[in-house]
Amino acid sequence: MPQASALKPAYDVVIIGGGGHGVATAYYLAKYHGITNVAVLEKAYLGGGNTARNTAVIRSNYLTPQGVRFYSESVKLFERLSNEFDFNIMYSQRGQLTLAHTDATVRAFRQRAEVNKHFGGRTELIDPVDIGELVPTLNLSPAGLPVLAGLWHQDGATARHDAVAWGYAKGATQRGVELHQLTEVTGIEVEAGRVTGVQTNRGRVSAGCVVQAVAGHSAELAQLAGFQIPIVAYPLQAMVTQPVKPFLNPLVSSSALHCYVQQTSRGEIVFGGGSDPYPLYGTRSTLELKESLMASAVEMFPFMSEMRLMRQWAGITDMTSDYSPIMGLSPVENYYLDAGWGTWGFKATPISGVTMAQLIASGGKVPELIAPFSLDRFDAFRQVNEMGATAASH
C-alpha cells in the first residue's frame, strides 16, 4: 500500500475513520463512481478500532425486513470479496446456530426464519436431534436450560476482520485514494449549515463533503459538527483461548446465556457476550464479565474448562435504542453519517461502503436500502426495532 505523504489542502471527500466502513466507502467511491480525490483520516492505524475488536461474525438472520434486506446484501458481497481484492480475507461460510431455551424464543426464531427466507437468506428452525448431529460437542442442557430448538443460518460465516480492512484499503489506495494514519480530526468547520473542512492534528483540509465512519465515539464526533445523535457508548467484551484441534465448525450462540462461541481457523476459541451493564467510554475488562462469560461458555462446551484463556479485550459499541444503525444525511449539509454500529458493524462493512458511496456520489440522494436508518427516524418515532441484534434480549 502506498504511503500517503503530506495532506493536500483540499479533497472532494474526507472520510473520518480508517476502519472497515471508512475504507470500504472510499473503495466503492473510487471503483464505481470514479471519485478518487478522497482522504481517509484515521487517528490511529488502519482497522485498529472496532474492526479489530469484533468477533468477525457475518450473518443476516435479523428480525426486521429492513435489517434483513440490508444485511443479506452484505453477506452476498462478503462471499466474493477475496476474489475481488485478489487478497485472501479467509472468508469461511460455516453456518451460524442460535439456540432457543424458551417457547418465547422459539416463536421469535420462527419469525426470524420466515423473514430471512422471504428475503433470500437460508435460515431454518431445527430440532435438538439435528443440533446434536451438527455440533456433537455441545451440551444440550447448558446451565439447566434445555435446548428446545435452534435457528440454523446456513449463510452464517466468518472472515479475518483485519484482512477486510486491508483489502479495501489496498483497492482504494491503488485507485488513488489517500489513507492518512495518525491523523486525528480535532474540529469540523461548518459555515451556514454546510460543512467546509476539518481540522486535524496535522493541519486543516477543505472538504467538498465529509463522512463520519468512526465507532465508539460517533456521538462525540457529531458534537464537533454541532449536532447530537442518539447513541450511548457501551463496552463489549470478548476473549480467546489457546488454539486446539478443530472440533467446532458452525458459529454457536445461546440466546439465554448471552454467549456466542466459535473456533477460528487457527484453532482458537473466540467467545463473547452482550454489552456491559452500563455505559462507558472505555475498553477495560471486568472480572464479573469474564467470570460470567467463561461460565456460560463452559456450560455450552463443558470440555472447555480444561482450556486456557489467551487474551481478552473490549471495544466501545455505539448503541442505538432500536439496535439499528444511523446512516445517511445529518443536520449539516454535505456531512454524512455512518454511525450507531453497536454490535452489528463488521457484518455490514461491504454494504455500508456501497451505500455510503452511492449517497456521496449522488450528492445526498439516500439509497433506498439505508433510508429506514435515517437519523430523523427517532424524531418521527419510526424506529427499526432490531431484536435480532447480538446485544438485544431475545
Binding site: Q223, Y278, E288, A380
Partner: protein, 105 residues
C-alpha cells in the same frame, strides 16, 4: 470487584446494582412537541466527562443518583434522589401543576 457506594446500604458489589439511564429533565408530556419528547426519550448527554445517572440497588429496590465519570468509571458521589427532587409540593391542585409546567417549558 468494583464497589458502588449505595446511600441506603453502604458499599456493595456493583453487580448488585442496575443502571437506570441518565438523569434528564422531563418536558411536560401534555405540552411537549413530538420532537421534544423524542429528544427526551432517545437522546443522552454523550460528552466525555462526569454524568448524573439513576442507579438501583436491586435487592432493596432502592433508586438513587450517582455522579460518575464515563471514561475513568470513577464514581464521584452517590446520593438520595430527594437531594434533587425534594422540592415537589404536595398536594398540588391541577391549576398549580399547569402553571408550574408552563413556567418550566
Amino acid at each position: 470487584m468494583k464497589i458502588l457506594s449505595c446511600p441506603l446500604n453502604g458499599p456493595r458489589n456493583i453487580a448488585e446494582f442496575i443502571y437506570g439511564g441518565q438523569v434528564k429533565e422531563m418536558p411536560d408530556p401534555a405540552q411537549a412537541t413530538d420532537k421534544q419528547w423524542a429528544h427526551y426519550v432517545f437522546y443522552e448527554d454523550s460528552h466525555i466527562g462526569i454524568v448524573r445517572e439513576w442507579w438501583m440497588h436491586a435487592p432493596s429496590s432502592y433508586w438513587f443518583i450517582a455522579e460518575r465519570h464515563n471514561q475513568s468509571d470513577e464514581v464521584l458521589r452517590t446520593y438520595d434522589p430527594s437531594e434533587l427532587f425534594g422540592l415537589r409540593e404536595s398536594p398540588a391542585s391541577a391549576s398549580d401543576l399547569k402553571q408550574d409546567s408552563a413556567e418550566v417549558s
